[in-house]
Amino acid sequence: MTDLGPLIPRNRAIHPVPYDPDYKTSVARSPNLPLLSMESGPSEETGPVFGHGRIGALDNNLILNWTKGAAPAVGERILMHGHVLDETARPVRNTLLEIWQANAGGRYRHKKDSYLAPLDPNFGGCGRTLTDENGYYQFLTVRPGAYPWPNRGNDWRPMHIHVSVYGHSFGQRLITQMYFEGDPLIAHCPIAHTIKSHGQLDRLVAPLDLAYSRPLDFLAYKFDIVLRGRRQTMFENKLEGM
């Protein structure tokens, strides 16, 4: 295997702060001591590969995948789509994206969620897909509702879809959340505001994308994702045995 070079070190300044008293759970779940920084090696530069054979035909269609196509979920029908690129603007091809979300009423199909909004019998709330040769992906789903959570006295999560992405190496692993353009709750959410730069938080807000909306069917929202890149140089120490 050719050495593609080490991963570009993560710029932690764009990421949320680990410790944020406004997001109460982070207080006891954030390390006190600094991270140990080091150049990446094969353990971080390799990663699992997921083939097309494991992805079912409805896996990226949350409107239909819970009932295997028998009945559609209730809610505002949306297309969530975009590209996965790395920091050097190369498309990240054939990489696994997984999403999960609440239903249109803000209720999750999880045994720990006891919110009084009802479950939708036709909605499971998870999907997955592989990006294509251009790093492009699509999900069809319903827009999730906002929901309350026990943090401060009256905290509500904005509408959001959780997104998990692999890239091609374990060191690119990323989980984030997509928010929706115009949602007034974003400005009040302590989880969103663990990201201290407004400009960076804006990058998690998906704009309405009328060009990709299908008339009389669904609205579209665009969410592009950037993963860590690799530093390529002619003067690299080659990994032994790779």
Binding site: R12, P16, S30, S164, G229
Partner: protein
């Protein structure tokens, strides 16, 4: 004006939240069956070469409480130190596993093959280790760490050598309980805080 740096910025992380299992381990929360096959169920298949081991442990918060909602992923080489996808890799080792803390006890179990030593870019070998990535409610960006093994020679490992406070090295070393049995507890904060990595 200087030239522009043609670089994009990584997408900012957000916490996986309390319901991460819905997306990554549907069967954990009784949503099994939505996919024909879930991802990362086991890092090994029948016929994997090497010593099969079991690592049990927990992820404790700063109060010492074992978190019931933590989700972990592991990535490792095969018994010969070759990563899946590399030439000569053991086809019985996918190397990747997802596992969650038990909702009642907070304990996790990772059953896998013990990895071999792997090369380091600067030369030399890294002691056998398993890379871990931990997400949960309250963790805003996934925590990376490694499991090393008490019964391996860790003396020349370049990562362990960089830990200035030598007692902290112990936080990355799984304790042997018996043949093929190890314990690895992760402490997010406070006394005995696990070394977390930025690499």
């Amino acid at each position: 004006m200087v030239q522009k740096l043609d670089m994009l910025q990584e997408t900012p992380s957000q916490t996986a939240g309390p319901y991460v299992h819905i997306g990554l381990m549907p069967s954990y929360t009784d949503n099994g069956g939505i996919y024909d096959e879930e991802i990362g169920v086991s890092p090994i298949a029948a016929g994997a070469r090497g010593e099969i081991i079991e690592i049990v442990g927990s992820v404790c918060d700063g109060t010492g409480w074992a978190m019931r909602d933590a989700l972990l992923e592991s990535w490792q080489a095969d018994a010969a130190g070759i990563f899946p996808g590399q030439e000569g890799a053991d086809p019985g080792v996918s190397g990747h596993c997802r596992f969650a803390a038990d909702a009642v006890s907070g304990e996790f179990t990772l059953r896998t093959v013990k990895p071999g030593p792997v090369p380091h870019r600067a030369g030399g070998r890294q002691a056998p280790h398993i890379s871990l990535w931990i997400v949960a409610r309250g963790i805003n960006i996934g925590l990376q760490t490694r499991i090393y093994f008490e019964d391996e020679d860790n003396s020349a490992d370049p990562l362990l050598a960089r830990i200035e406070q030598r007692p902290r090295v112990e936080t990355l070393i799984a304790k042997k309980l018996g043949p093929g049995q190890y314990r690895f507890d992760i402490r997010l904060q406070g006394a005995g805080e696990t070394v977390f990595l930025d690499l």
